[in-house]
Symmetry: C2
Subunit: 344 residues, 2 copies
C-alpha cells in the first residue's frame, strides 16, 4: 500500500490535469467560436455581421448562399486603413516628386511641383483634381509595370506615418482584418475595391490583407505593350484608363468580378453606389460604413453628425441619412471598435 | 465435409473475385495516374505538358512555382472550342439581328442588316470591322447587364451548330478540357483570355470549362450606372471599353490578373503577344498553339503550312516561324488529338 498510494495519487493528479487541459481547450474553442471578432465591442454592428454570416452559410436556410457566390468587397482608404490627413498613395506621390526633383530643375518654378518641393503644406491642402492629375502622371507613369511595382515596394517598406511613426501597412484596422478573416473562414472570397491605384495596392495587399493581386479592383492608367531590349514590357502611360470610384465601383465590380457582392464595406460617399449595388441583389446582403468619430484613437471627420468636414473620405450627412433609410450599418469607430490597431 | 467443400469453394471464389477487383481498380488508378490526358496521342505536345507540370510542381526543384503563382490562360475561339466557319458569338449576333428585325423595319434597306435579314452568306463573309461594330452595337448593347445575360443564356441553350447539329457548348475540345482539369488538379488557376465578349463567355464558362466569371478576361463595352424603377442597373452602351486581343491580351492579363501566366494556350495571331508575354517571365513556362490541320474531324486552315487562309483565327506562317524559333509547341489537331469532342 505504501507504493500504491503515491501511484494512485499520481494517476489522480494526471487525471485532474487532463480534465483541466480539456476544459481550457474547450473554453478556448468555445470562446473562439463565440467571438470571431475579438476587437469589436458588443453591439449592433458586431451582431449584424455574425447574424449575416450565420444566415448565408446555413444550408437549407432561406438565405443560404452557395460558396462560389460569397463575394465580399472592401474599400481601402478609411475602411481598412488610415487615410488621414491624406491618402498614403498621395504621400507616396509627394515623396516621389521630391525624389525626382533633381532630375527636373524646371519643377522649382512650376506648380504644383513648386509647392511640393518647398513643403508648402498650406498650398498642398488646396490642390485640386488637375494638380493631382499632374502629380500622378509625373510619379506613377512613364515606367514599366514591373518598375512601378519595385518603386512602390521600396517606398512602402520605408515610409512611416508622421503620427504613429509606423509603416502605413501597420495602420490597418484590426477589426476589419478580423471581418476579412471571418468571412474567408466562412467561404467568402474577399476583394479590395478601391478608388486608389490597382497596381499600387496589389504590391502589399497579399501580406497586409491576405488578398491576392487578382482580387484587387482599383483605378488604373492605360498601359502600352512595347519592347525594351527585345523583351516585352507594359509601359504605364499618363492617361487614365479606369476610375474605380462612386458609380465606377459598381462598374468595376461587374467588370472584374462579374458577380454581385453579398457584403460590402466602405466609409465615404465614394462607396455609396457599391453599397447600393450590393443591396439591389436578392436575398440577405450586408452593407456597412465606417464612421470616423474617434479623434483620440484615430481621427474624427464627417461632416455627418456635425464632425469636421473633409475632402479625404467625406462622410456626408446625406450618406448618413441614406444609410439609416436603407438599413446600412454605420460602424462607430469610437463605440464599436475595442481595439483599432494590432500594435495597440 | 459435404457442406464444407462448397463453402470453401465459395470463399475461394470470393477471394479470387476480390483479387480481380483489386487488380482492376489498381490498373485503372495506375492508368489514370500515368495518363491525365487520355484524349491526346503520345507525342511531343503531350509529353511537354506533362513534363512542364512535373517541373513546376516539384517542391525544391529549380523550376518550382508556388501554387498562388500557377496561372494558366486559355484563348477560347479555336483553342477550346470550334470557331469555324464563324465565331459562335457572331452567330449569336446574326440570330439576334433577325430576331430584332420586326422592331426595326428600316433594317430591310440598311446594310449590314439588309444582308443579314436576307441571309446573304456571300455578303456576310465580306463584312468588315465597321459592319461588325454596327451589328454588335445593335445586338449587344442598349440593355442592362442582367438582361444581356438572360438573352445569351437563352440563345446558348437553344442554338445549334449547322455541321454537328449540337449546341455550341458541346463543340469544346476534349483534349483542352483535360489540360484544364489536369492543371487545376496541380494547383493552377485557369483563366479564359478571349478576344470575344467577356460577359458573353461568362454566361456558360462555369458549366463548360469549370471557370467562374471572375476568371474570364475578355473584350467589353462601356457600362453606365443608371436607375430603373428606383433600382440601379448597369446599362451596356454602344462604346467599346476594352479589346482583349493581340497586345490587349497581355494588357488584359496584367489588368485583370496582375500576375504573369506560367502557361498560355492560343491558336492564332491574336494570341501571339499573350504567348510572348508569358515566355518573357522567369523560369519554366509553357506556350502552346492549336494548329487546325484536321479537315476530316474539324477544319483545316492557316495559312501556315499551306492550309487555306482565313479571317477567323488566322494562323499565319510568321506565327508558325515564331513558334518554332521560340520553342512554342504547335499542337497538330490531326496528329496530337486522339479524340476531339466528348460526344465522339
Amino acid at each position: 500500500m505504501h507504493t500504491f498510494l503515491p501511484k494512485r495519487m499520481y494517476r489522480f493528479r494526471f487525471f485532474i490535469s487532463l480534465i483541466v487541459a480539456i476544459l481550457v481547450i474547450s473554453i478556448c474553442s468555445v470562446s473562439d467560436a463565440a467571438d470571431p471578432l475579438p476587437s469589436w465591442n458588443d453591439g449592433q454592428a458586431k451582431e449584424r455581421i455574425i447574424a449575416f454570416v450565420a444566415e448565408v452559410t446555413k444550408e437549407g436556410g432561406p438565405n443560404y448562399v452557395p460558396s462560389e457566390d460569397r463575394i465580399a468587397t472592401f474599400d481601402q482608404d478609411g475602411t481598412t486603413w488610415v487615410s488621414h490627413p491624406i491618402y498614403a498613395q498621395a504621400v507616396f506621390a509627394l515623396d516621389r516628386v521630391r525624389e525626382l526633383a533633381p532630375k527636373h530643375p524646371e519643377w522649382k518654378d512650376e506648380e504644383p511641383f513648386k509647392s511640393v518641393i518647398a513643403g508648402d503644406r498650406e498650398a498642398m491642402t488646396k490642390f485640386g483634381e488637375s494638380d493631382w492629375e499632374i502629380i500622378i502622371a509625373a510619379t506613377h507613369t512613364g515606367m514599366s509595370t514591373e518598375d512601378f511595382e519595385k518603386i512602390v515596394k521600396q517606398w512602402i517598406s520605408n515610409a512611416k506615418d508622421p503620427r504613429w511613426h509606423r509603416p502605413y501597412t501597420e495602420l490597418v484596422y484590426q477589426p476589419m482584418i478580423e471581418v476579412m478573416d471571418y468571412l474567408r473562414a466562412n467561404g467568402f472570397k474577399t476583394y479590395v475595391v478601391t478608388g486608389g491605384g490597382q497596381e499600387f495596392v496589389r504590391v502589399y495587399a497579399q501580406s497586409v490583407y491576405g488578398i491576392p493581386p487578382e482580387q484587387i479592383v482599383g483605378s488604373s492608367v492605360l498601359t502600352k505593350y512595347e519592347y525594351r531590349d527585345g523583351k516585352p514590357i507594359l509601359l504605364r502611360e499618363p492617361k487614365v484608363f479606369f476610375i474605380d470610384d462612386k458609380a465606377g465601383k459598381a462598374i468595376g465590380i461587374n467588370l472584374f468580378i462579374g458577380k454581385r457582392p453579398y457584403a460590402a464595406f466602405g466609409n465615404s460617399t465614394g462607396d455609396r453606389e457599391m453599397l447600393e449595388w450590393t443591396q439591389a441583389g436578392d436575398g440577405k446582403r450586408l452593407m456597412m460604413l465606417v464612421y470616423h468619430d474617434d479623434k483620440e484613437r484615430e481621427y474624427a471627420y464627417g461632416p455627418a453628425g456635425g464632425l469636421p468636414d473633409t475632402h479625404v473620405g467625406t462622410f456626408s450627412q446625406a450618406l448618413m441619412d441614406e444609410a439609416k433609410k436603407n438599413g446600412w450599418i454605420v460602424i462607430s469607430m469610437k463605440n464599436d471598435w475595442k481595439r483599432i490597431f494590432k500594435f495597440e
